[in-house]
């Protein structure tokens, strides 16, 4: 068993999605609690398996031995091995309750509020106080409490970014709450943890934690209407006309400051500034974006985005237009 532990531990890289590498107050509380329980469990494991090993080695049948004495029980022993586990459980139960009630107390004082809406199979993030709407990438300021209000637009999802917090479900018809304060800047990957249909495995999320000034600049930019970045005008021009015309994109997507006001798919006002496409499935490059809008189901099976039958050129142009929306 030990060799197995070593073997499997050796397989590790740096585990960017690991619950054992906490980077927030909440995740650290959970991790501390877990480590305590883990070592108690290791202790019990050693005692039980040890007793078992001694029993099977020492009391093997030996040739010529007499029939063992029929012992029917021993009250003192049996009371002991009822009480000792109960005591161990107190050492698990008390820290559990303390942690549970602490991390379940809503944030006191100022917190950045974000509405998280689960969709099959992507995440919508609204910052009501900042006038920002984005998707699949949650930007948060370091050292500042983030107060997430979670709901679902369709089925049950679960928001899980292991390095920042435990899971919290997004349940249709209810609002849930989750909060944490991130320790340091970085990109923290996570994904939906409640089975939600065909593309459940590809409903990824990234939390991008930034220093407060960087975050503020980002929020400022995101709160504005769409602005096309200069450069590549010809492609962008055709791409835009396809987006608003034959492509039919506007029936599902919003681009603030334009007539596009669909609500079924992600808000694309600043889609060019995101690092991934399709809820973390592809890196956001012009080529990837083109293959995504051309054949969204090839990249992500079951995905609800419609295949609009775009040609390679049309897909390239739409990708250029979207890429210009920084």
């Amino acid at each position: 068993m030990l060799s197995l532990v070593v073997l499997t531990a050796a397989c590790g890289g740096d585990f960017p999605q690991s619950s054992l590498r906490p980077q927030s107050d909440v995740a650290r509380s959970i991790d501390d609690l877990f480590r305590g329980i883990f070592w108690l469990a290791v202790g019990v494991f050693v005692v039980v398996e040890g007793a078992l090993l001694v029993a099977i080695v020492r009391f093997r049948e030996r040739p010529g031995a007499e029939r063992p004495k029929p012992v029917h029980g021993n009250t003192a022993l049996e009371v002991a091995w009822t009480i000792v586990p109960a005591v161990i459980l107190i050492f698990i139960g008390v820290p559990t309750m303390l942690t549970l009630w602490r991390i379940d107390r809503p944030p006191q004082g100022e917190a950045l509020r974000v509405e998280v809406v689960g969709h099959q199979w992507w995440w919508e993030f609204n910052y009501p106080d900042l006038g920002v709407t984005t998707a699949n990438e949650l930007h948060v300021p370091v050292g500042h409490t983030v107060d997430l209000r979670l709901r679902s637009d369709d089925v049950v999802h679960s928001f899980w970014v292991p390095r920042l917090a435990g899971k919290r479900d997004l349940v249709p018809g209810r609002e849930n709450q989750l909060w944490f304060t991130v320790d340091s800047a970085g990109v923290y990957p996570g994904q939906c943890a409640e089975f939600c249909g065909i593309a459940h495995a590809l409903m990824r999320v990234r939390v991008i934690a930034e220093e407060p000034d960087v975050f503020e600049r980002w929020a400022e930019l995101q709160s504005h209407d769409a602005v096309e970045e200069p450069g590549g005008e010809a492609l962008v021009e055709t791409g835009r006309s396809i987006f608003f015309g034959a492509g039919g994109c506007i029936s599902c997507h919003t681009i603030r400051g334009t007539p596009a006001a669909g609500v079924l798919g992600p808000d694309l006002t600043h889609v060019g500034s995101r690092s991934t496409i399709g809820a973390g499935v592809l890196r956001n490059t012009p080529t990837n974006m083109a293959s995504w809008v051309k054949e969204p189901h090839k990249v992500k099976k079951g995905n609800l985005m419609l295949d609009m039958g775009l040609s390679d050129e049309q897909a390239r142009d739409v990708a250029a237009y979207l890429g210009s929306l920084k």
Partner: protein, 601 residues
């Protein structure tokens, strides 16, 4: 009733029990034959679900693998879970109940033999109906837990979920009927002198499990009826847009789903509570405590369901209560472990394959129990739930616990059932391959889960550190599969040419070892008289009662007719009203025929 004249000891033994053609098996009401039917059916479904598991492991062997498409993968993990729990492990357990309980309590059969056959047919038809969904547009793909509202007709179009509802309704009814039958049997048909505190542990655990079944299956049945109404008649039980609540499903499911864990694990505990004393040649240490702890586990098992729902947001108070009750279960479970070890302590242990599997259960279940304690703590569970850590946990419980226990029982009672031994050498190969296989498969899953790999995902990206764990698991699954093949070979070979075994080849203490192997159709020539807990070790089963007439129930095809009617009715829900009516008519006619079946003297 058929009367057996002059039951002379030894007469016709080893032949009459299983003689006869297919028709005699179809119409059988003999608990031993029904036990074998359950066992063989369960084993077939164990293989089906094992192949499903192997496909899942092959898909996950490498990141971004495209062996299976997501929809197929989702159907496979759903059917793997349903089939293993409900159509493999439970029926194999039921095979043991059926075969052994009447023998262990000195009875000639169960209380309601025809009802017993009826339970079997309902289980079989339910399992076949659900599995037939693969042929009719796809199996259910929403997990065995089938969380609403993903199961609504909007989010699960097609008939997969309908097959889930109808198949499980049939099988569930079969389980409830069987459980009632065993409760009545154990409470009423015990041989003279066999007081409750002398009843063998396996029979005791059967009794506990039977109570769990009749209490746990009804809420689930209500859940699937609600779901059926939502899907077929447009109601809103679980539909938030119509004022329903998907969380209601989670409660109904887990108030069944958690006791279900004990329904599948307690029979294994019962089995090794028989095996360990026999091979340690020492009575079970602390018999009353082992009994009471089993009862307590069953009782507490109904108060912990919401520990599957810590991430739902029920609030800190509810989570604290369910966490506390969950932790409490660790106490009686631990007591059992210690009592088993104490039974071995000071014994003279013979390591036959049955004993190896029993010791394996203690070693492996301990791991599953301890990881269970870890996620009884809600904050810790918030990181662990819905990850591979939980997959590791319950496979240590279900494979490391239940399956090893069931294998132990197979090696232990095979001589009783067939009159032959399973091959010991192949048995040891089977054990060690299984032991290595399951640890390679399931141990790395703890790490994958803690490092952030969620369950029920058809793929994972490279770069998150999951690759090595998953590949190791896949290799382990392959080894486990080889182990199962070795077992099957052993089973088939030993059936034909295993060493002959006598009535009591292991020197067991309980009543089933007092009759021949295999037992005659009427089990005991004379009703045994019991005067202590381990009758064959202490004071035998005599003196014989006065000359008695033996009455055995007649074969009957009515249970099959009624169950066939139920199947037709269920299938009719997918085909059309005329078929529903036909099924109902067959059921009513069948019940009439059953009730007024003539008794031949």
């Amino acid at each position: 009733m058929a009367k057996i004249e002059a039951a002379v000891p030894g007469e016709g033994r080893g032949v009459s029990t299983y003689a006869g053609g297919v028709w005699s098996w179809i119409t059988t009401v003999d608990h031993k034959r029904i036990g074998i039917l359950y066992f063989v059916s369960g084993l077939v479904f164990f293989l089906v679900a094992g192949v499903e598991a192997m496909l899942i492991r092959l898909q996950l062997a490498a990141p971004g693998n495209t062996l299976l498409d997501p929809a197929t993968y989702n159907q496979l993990f759903t059917m793997h879970g349903l089939t293993m729990v409900l159509f493999a492990v439970m029926p194999i357990g039921a095979g043991f109940f059926n075969y052994l309980v009447p023998l262990q309590i000195g009875a000639r059969d169960v209380a309601f033999p025809r009802l017993n056959a009826f339970s079997y047919w309902l289980f079989l038809f339910g399992a076949l109906l659900l599995n037939s969904s693969f042929l009719f547009g796809g199996a259910p793909g929403a997990g065995w837990f089938a969380y609403a509202n993903l199961t609504s007709s909007q989010y699960s179009p097609g008939h997969g979920m309908d097959f889930y509802i109808l198949g499980l309704a049939l099988a569930g009814a079969g389980s409830i009927v069987a459980a009632l039958n065993f409760i009545v049997t154990i409470l009423n048909l015990r041989a003279p002198g066999l007081s409750m505190m002398r009843v063998p542990l396996f029979t005791w655990m059967t009794l506990v499990v039977s109570f769990l079944i009749i209490l746990a299956f009804p809420p689930f049945t209500i859940g699937i009826v609600f779901l059926l109404f939502d899907r077929m008649f447009g109601t809103f039980f679980f539909e938030p847009l119509g004022g329903g609540d998907p969380i209601l499903w989670q409660h109904l499911f887990w108030i069944f789903g958690h006791p279900e864990v004990y329904i599948v694990v307690l029979p294994a505990f019962g089995i090794i509570s028989e095996v360990i004393p026999t091979f340690s040649r020492k009575p079970l240490f602390g018999y009353p405590v082992v009994v009471y702890s089993g009862v307590l586990i069953g009782f507490l098992g109904f108060g912990v369901w919401a520990h599957h729902m810590f991430s739902v947001g029920l609030g800190p108070l509810a989570n604290s209560v369910f966490a506390g009750l969950t932790m409490l279960i660790a106490i009686p479970t631990g007591v059992k472990m210690f009592n088993w070890i104490a039974t071995m302590w000071g014994g003279a242990i013979r390591f036959r394959t049955a004993m190896l599997f029993a010791v394996g259960l203690i070693a492996m279940f301990t791991i599953g129990g301890l990881s269970g304690v870890m996620h009884s703590s809600p904050p810790a569970d918030l990181q662990q739930t819905d990850t591979y850590f939980v997959v590791a946990h319950f496979h240590y419980v279900l494979f490391g616990g239940t399956m090893l226990g069931l294998f132990s029982g197979m090696y232990y009672w095979f001589p009783k059932v067939t009159g032959r031994f399973l091959d010991e050498r192949l048995g040891k190969v089977h054990f060690w391959l299984t032991f290595i296989g399951i640890n390679l498969t399931f141990f790395p899953m703890h790490f994958a889960g803690l490092h952030g790999m969620p369950r029920r995902t058809f793929t994972y990206p490279a770069g998150l550190g999951f690759e090595g764990y998953n590949l190791t698991s896949t290799v382990g699954a392959g080894i486990t599969l080889v182990a199962v093949l070795v077992f099957l070979y052993n089973l088939i070979r030993s059936l034909r040419s295993g060493e002959p075994a006598g009535a009591n080849p292991w020197g067991g203490a309980t009543l089933e070892w007092s009759t021949s192997s295999p037992p005659p159709a009427h089990n005991f020539d004379r009703t045994p008289q019991v005067r202590s807990r381990d009758p064959l070790w202490n004071d035998g089963v005599g003196p014989p009662a006065a000359e008695e007439e033996i009455h055995m129930p007649n074969p009957s095809y009515w249970p099959l007719v009624v169950a066939g009617g139920a199947l037709t009715l269920a299938a009719g829900a997918l085909i059309g009203l005329p078929v529903v009516l036909l099924g109902a008519a067959v059921m009513v006619g069948g019940i009439y025929g059953w009730a007024f079946e003539p008794i031949h003297g």
